[in-house]
């Protein structure tokens, strides 16, 4: 399989990264189809977050290739990868605490990326509408003028998802989107995710199996940087290797 295959949006091939000899990700292959919601699971230290880091350019790979819509991401800078259509949400909510919710969303609005673009950027009605629209989706309409530092943990997670949403990426990568949430928040988040993954591909790293079941199209299990199993949730759960790894711990 390769980039010519129009049915794939992302093909990761033979991806390896080593930190002073320790291979955090080792010869990984991963293929994502359009509109697929892929969940990566695995025990701690399996390399899940590192895979996301490698795809979005946060960590430089030692070898391998990551092709997204025919572009080799490994050779691109982070911001170029974003412009290509890849969005990334971090494990801990990563919002700009000194700015308001509105400003947080505005910064993610996909225009004025260059320095002079940013200087000339004006808050037009169009921008305002789009931000309000997204704020509606992420349940933060009433908090637009509030400093994001004052949001609850869950609200910050939503805000970050909203920031991705406004970018409208074709591939969305979420790192533990429901970690640390209350039950009520989690229900709302699942609802939110289900709504936004509809028309794009998503890679989710998650521990919460119930949540995984709710959203996953396919599941990839990593163990010690290597692919352990891949398939539907039911298929993976039945895999003896997977059981071994999880129970063995």
């Amino acid at each position: 399989m390769s980039i010519e295959n129009p049915r794939l949006i992302l093909s990761v091939e033979d991806l390896t990264v080593s930190f002073d000899g320790f291979k955090a990700v080792d010869g990984l292959n991963l293929y994502i189809a359009p509109n697929e919601c892929r969940v990566i699971i695995g025990p701690n230290g399996a390399g899940k977050t590192t895979v996301l880091d490698l795809i979005c350019g946060r960590t430089r790979a030692t070898s391998g290739s990551v092709e997204f819509k025919g572009m080799e991401l490994l050779k691109m800078r982070e911001d170029q990868i974003v412009h290509a259509g890849v969005g990334r949400k971090f494990q801990t909510p990563s919002v700009y605490e000194d700015l308001t919710v509105f400003e947080n969303l505005e910064i993610s609005y996909p225009r004025g990326y260059s320095v002079f673009g940013a200087l000339a950027f004006r808050r037009t009605a169009e921008v305002r509408e789009r931000i309000e629209e997204v704020a509606e989706v992420i349940f933060l309409s009433d908090h637009l003028d509030q400093k994001s530092a004052h949001l609850s943990h869950g609200q910050k997670q939503w805000l970050e998802i909203g920031m991705l949403l406004i970018q409208d990426p074709q591939l969305l990568m979420l790192d533990e989107p429901v970690a640390g949430m209350s039950v009520a928040e989690r229900v709302k988040t699942a609802e939110l995710l289900n709504r936004i993954i509809a028309d794009r591909s998503v890679i989710v790293v998650e521990h919460d199996m119930k949540f995984v079941e709710e959203i996953a199209t396919r599941v990839t299990v990593l163990h010690r940087g290597k692919l352990l199993a891949e398939g539907s949730m039911a298929h993976v759960q039945a895999d003896p290797d997977v059981i071994e790894v999880y129970l063995g711990h």
Binding site: T92, V95, L119, S152, H153, G180
Partner: protein, 401 residues
């Protein structure tokens, strides 16, 4: 505390009411009060202090907003000042005025150092237009090169500070060592006229003071424009969550380079005005000590407030002059104590005090909702400060948690 000092709410106009009031007070002070009450000597002194305010305003952008603490702003101040000084020196070194030299028509210090012809890179400084362009362009180009090299490689935090400090040290040694071309440790002295206009007279000093004030307000305007723009918000965002900005699709390095260059340009204008008002330029403004003193002007004023920076520059220098006139030995204690006090007790400087105690109270109360409880400690592990984060990418001046 920082709620009140950072861009209050950008949904409003170019200036908030408090900022407008602050700017108005400053303008009245600089353009009306000081010229009215001070004799030319004191006015010239204030003019000199205000040239440091340019640097401090640049630092507010770089450090306060962008989290980039440069300990080498003296480099840009000096380069701007030297460009101006070269022009003035050439004008003062007419063949008639330097007739006693073995090579008339070149600056006196060159003659003393057996330089027999004007070096080629001095030639363009016969032109005022070129000089005015160079005053800004040379330091900015230098800042651009440093910025490219460092921010592209994601050098940040204390690494950046130390490297800029080293650059300041290198440039000082270089200027002192190449005295035939630079005037050495004495600097370029005895500057007299600008296009025939004697800059040493009281009248000229007053005019220069006013020009300085106008330029300062122009820089304040530019700084405010940048802070108000999306670029300004991006800088704050970058300081706190550099990665997030990067993954929102911005080329973080480009913004840092930009703001570093703006800071350099401001410092350079200050340096040029310094040369004009003080009448000479020497390597002692390029080195480590002046560079770090410029940081304290900014810190005292409030690292997040561009108006505060001006006040900081004014007041610290005023205190320095006052102190050293009455208790020279105490001044060092005072300055040292000021560094520590500002860092420990008033990290927002004078602007913080102003905003807390002077700015209208009701408005503040309205904008301060009770922060909701943060539920999970696990999701936000308190990371140990990564002191040695290899590339220094950690948000440089992460403010107090």
């Amino acid at each position: 505390m920082r709620d009140t000092t950072l861009a209050a709410s950008p949904t409003r106009g170019f200036l908030t009411r408090t900022e407008l009031a602050g700017a108005a007070i400053l303008a009245i002070l600089i353009f009306l009060v000081l010229p009215a009450i001070l004799d030319p000597f004191r006015l010239n002194l204030y003019g000199k202090y205000l040239t440091y305010a340019f640097v401090a305003v640049g630092l507010v952008l770089c450090w306060g907003a962008g989290g980039i603490l440069s300990l080498g702003q003296g480099v840009f101040f000096g380069l701007g000042g030297y460009c101006m000084a070269m022009f003035l020196k050439l004008e003062a070194s007419t063949p008639e005025a330097t007739a006693i030299q073995s090579t008339p028509g070149i600056p006196d210090f060159m003659d003393w150092n057996q330089v027999t012809a004007l070096p080629w890179w001095w030639e363009p400084f016969h032109s005022l237009t070129f000089t005015l362009v160079a005053v800004v362009a040379v330091p900015v180009a230098f800042a651009f090169v440093i910025g490219m090299a460092m921010f592209r490689r994601r050098v940040g935090g204390v690494y950046f500070s130390i490297i800029t400090q080293a650059i300041a040290a290198i440039l000082t040694i270089l200027i002192i060592g190449q005295q035939g071309y630079t005037g050495g440790v004495n600097g370029i002295t005895d500057l007299r006229t600008l296009k025939g206009w004697d800059i040493r007279t009281d009248d000229a000093k007053e005019v220069l003071y006013l020009v300085n004030g106008v330029l300062l307000f122009a820089c304040l305007g530019i700084a405010q424009f940048i802070r108000r723009s999306k670029a300004g918000r991006l800088l704050i965002a970058m300081r706190d969550r550099e990665d997030r900005v990067r993954f929102s699709g911005y080329d973080v390095a480009a913004f840092k380079i930009f703001v570093f260059c703006v800071g350099a340009a401001f410092a350079a204008i200050g340096g040029a005005m310094f040369t004009l008002q003080v009448g000479f330029m020497s390597p002692s403004f390029v080195g480590i000590v002046p560079s770090i003193e410029m940081v304290i002007f900014c810190a005292v004023g409030g690292r997040h407030s561009i108006l505060g920076a001006v006040w900081g520059a004014l007041l610290v220098n005023l205190a320095k002059t006052g102190f050293s006139e009455s208790f020279p030995e105490l001044w060092q204690f005072g300055l040292g104590g000021l560094f520590i006090a500002v860092v420990l007790f008033f990290p927002e400087g004078l602007a913080g005090l102003w905003n807390r105690h002077v700015a209208p109270l009701p408005a503040r109360l309205r904008r301060r909702p009770v922060p909701p409880q943060v539920p999970s400690p696990a999701a936000a592990p308190k990371k140990p400060m990564p002191p040695a984060s290899p590339a220094g990418t950690s948000p440089a001046a992460a403010p107090a948690e």
